[in-house]
């Protein structure tokens, strides 16, 4: 069996066909662009960060138009070019879009009814299973010691993922905040930061601000790489400062970790992910859209303190932690890996095609009941004509009598 990331569906599908193996497509994160189908323009986490109910009507109108341009214009163009070329070469390749029978989505947060999402070109059965985070997670001895050593202060984990980039202004704010908390000894920080960012941004900024990072090792640990899921799984971690990428959001929910969301890529899904976590009650957020929240030391301190307040890890949990625990429990109960593996086994051994609903095999006209509307309209018209004729006949008869 070939199991492939949806970004590589053509390779995965074609390879499985060549070796006559079954295939399943996975959506580990967001649903892809190929699902430019019937999703409403306000649905979060499709293409744009500005596709959320929390955004303005202007953004939604723009997104509405762009989605339809992409779907109807571009997909039609690519279909015509692609298949016309194949036909011209007399290559009998069946439409690969329609050959993938099963797709699994490793999430359940904020996506609503995944089964509603369809498109003319691409229409496998899609099942949400819950996240597939691995069982194995490892930490280096240094990080392990920092998290679970003698110091009983809780830890705030800072990481903004692989693709997002720190800005100088935000680095300055973070450094000042850490220094402030170092003085009050409230909490500690574990900062996952690429070497390049440390050398080019953080170290010079600390020098400029006069913050001696070397003397703050009891409060701050900076590491070039750390297993994020393993860190978040630690009971010592009180909050997660995150860019709110989809993977990070899933990991935070699965490990019941409150989040301080700092979206870094405004054109991505990070803004709506952050909004969703705030809506779920497990996060504080900076709205990074232009003209919204300004990230200052005071703001950052206030939000961090509210997230970690009165959280000593025992019964004394704050409201964010309580809600995070509830979501984490649901995420763990879903047992995504097991449910996903059940589907893989089913597809591998018996096939799941028989489970595809009949609605996927009927035409667009039938699916949208266009034929029914036509008949009803015709019936109404006929009735109207009949009634009109009867009335006119009645009137004539009455006139004759008079």
């Amino acid at each position: 069996m070939i199991v492939f990331d949806h970004l590589f569906w053509p390779a995965g599908y074609a390879l499985s066909r060549d070796i006559n193996a079954s295939s399943v497509m996975l959506y580990p994160g967001l649903l892809g662009l190929e699902h430019l189908g019937n999703e409403p323009d306000y649905m979060p986490m499709i293409i744009s960060g500005f596709t959320s109910p929390v955004t303005s009507i202007g953004n939604r109108v723009q997104n509405f138009i762009m989605l339809r341009v992409a779907r109807y214009a571009l997909q039609t163009i690519r279909r015509v070019i692609f298949y016309k070329t194949l036909n011209k070469l007399n290559i009998s390749i069946s439409n690969p879009y329609g050959k993938i029978k099963l797709a699994l989505h490793g999430s359940y947060v904020g996506l609503g009814e995944v089964s509603r999402i369809q498109s003319e070109l691409f229409n496998p059965m899609t099942k949400s299973t819950g996240t597939w985070l691995p069982r194995t997670a490892t930490l280096s001895k240094e990080v392990e010691s920092f998290l679970h050593g003698d110091d009983s202060r809780m830890v705030v984990f800072i990481s903004i993922g692989t693709n997002a980039a720190w800005s100088k202004d935000i680095v300055n704010v973070v450094l000042k905040t850490i220094q402030e908390i170092h003085n009050t000894k409230e909490i500690r920080f574990l900062w996952s930061l690429k070497d390049k960012d440390y050398k080019q941004l953080v170290s010079p900024a600390a020098l400029d601000l006069g913050i001696p990072l070397d003397e703050m090792t009891d409060t701050l640990m900076i590491v070039p790489f750390v297993d994020q899921y393993a860190v978040l799984s630690s009971e010592s971690v009180a909050a997660f400062v995150s860019h709110c990428g989809f993977g990070s959001m899933q990991e935070a929910i699965h490990t019941s970790t409150p989040v301080l969301a700092m979206p870094m890529m405004l054109e991505s899904d990070q803004v709506t992910n952050a909004a969703r976590l705030v809506q779920l009650g497990v996060a504080e957020s900076f709205d990074a859209r232009p003209g919204r929240d300004k990230i200052t030391t005071d703001n950052l301190l206030m939000k961090l303190r509210s997230l970690t307040a009165a959280d000593s890890g025992g019964d004394n949990l704050n409201v964010y932690r309580q809600k995070a625990n509830k979501l984490g429990k649901i995420s763990n109960l879903l047992n995504g890996p097991s449910r996903g593996a059940d589907w893989l086994e089913m597809e591998m051994n018996e096939g799941t095609e028989f489970m595809v609903g009949i609605e996927n095999h009927i035409s667009w006209i039938e699916r949208n009941s266009v034929d029914v509307y036509c008949i009803l309209t015709l019936v109404v018209c006929v009735l109207f004509v009949v009634v009109k004729n009867i009335r006119s006949v009645c009137k004539k008869t009455k006139k004759k009598k008079d």
Binding site: I47, M66, L133, R135
Partner: protein
């Protein structure tokens, strides 16, 4: 097919073919093995974003736990996530494959898409074992290219992905 080929086009094609042969030998080995034991062997193809690979790994671990032979194809740089513990998952490096895809992506997006498509889809290339990945590659490249073009119309998400991620990979 056009009769005349420019020097640039010819060079591009040579690069493509060399990269194809180098990049997919390992995948062919896996494919051959799978034809004999396909019911017990599950290949995960996840050579894309690290966060995707991390999440797919949980599913791969579960399949390994259930007694299947599991191979996970990903970038060499992501090996540490997959082989970090004795989790029963065999790692398959696809670095060349991925870089090849990116190179093709650029070529196809900006120049002679039509010609390369025709070359790669010729029946003699489709039906011979040494070139079985051609068709897979062209599907992937085509798909990614279209996504990039679409993204220009839809808030530049993949444009950002290209500008930020690809320089890091290379």
């Amino acid at each position: 097919m056009k009769a005349s080929i420019s020097i640039v086009s010819a060079l591009q094609i040579i690069v493509l073919l060399i990269a194809t042969i180098i990049g997919h030998q390992s995948a062919e080995v896996v494919a051959k093995k799978m034809t004999t034991k396909k019911k017990q062997h599950v290949l995960f193809l996840g050579a894309s974003q690290t966060s995707h690979i991390l999440h797919m790994q949980g599913l791969a671990e579960e399949m390994a736990h259930r007694g299947y032979k599991v191979t996970f194809a990903a970038l060499e740089s992501d090996k540490k996530f997959i082989s970090k513990a004795d989790n029963g998952i065999e790692f398959l490096s696809v670095r060349v494959y991925y870089l090849f895809m990116l190179v093709c992506c650029n070529i196809i997006t900006f120049s002679n898409f039509q010609y390369i498509l025709e070359l790669s889809l010729r029946p003699e290339n489709l039906n011979t074992t040494p070139h079985i990945m051609d068709i897979h590659m062209i599907y992937s490249i085509y798909f990614v290219s279209v996504q990039i073009i679409q993204s220009i119309f839809t808030n530049h998400y993949y444009l950002n992905f290209l500008l930020i991620t690809i320089p890091q990979l290379i």
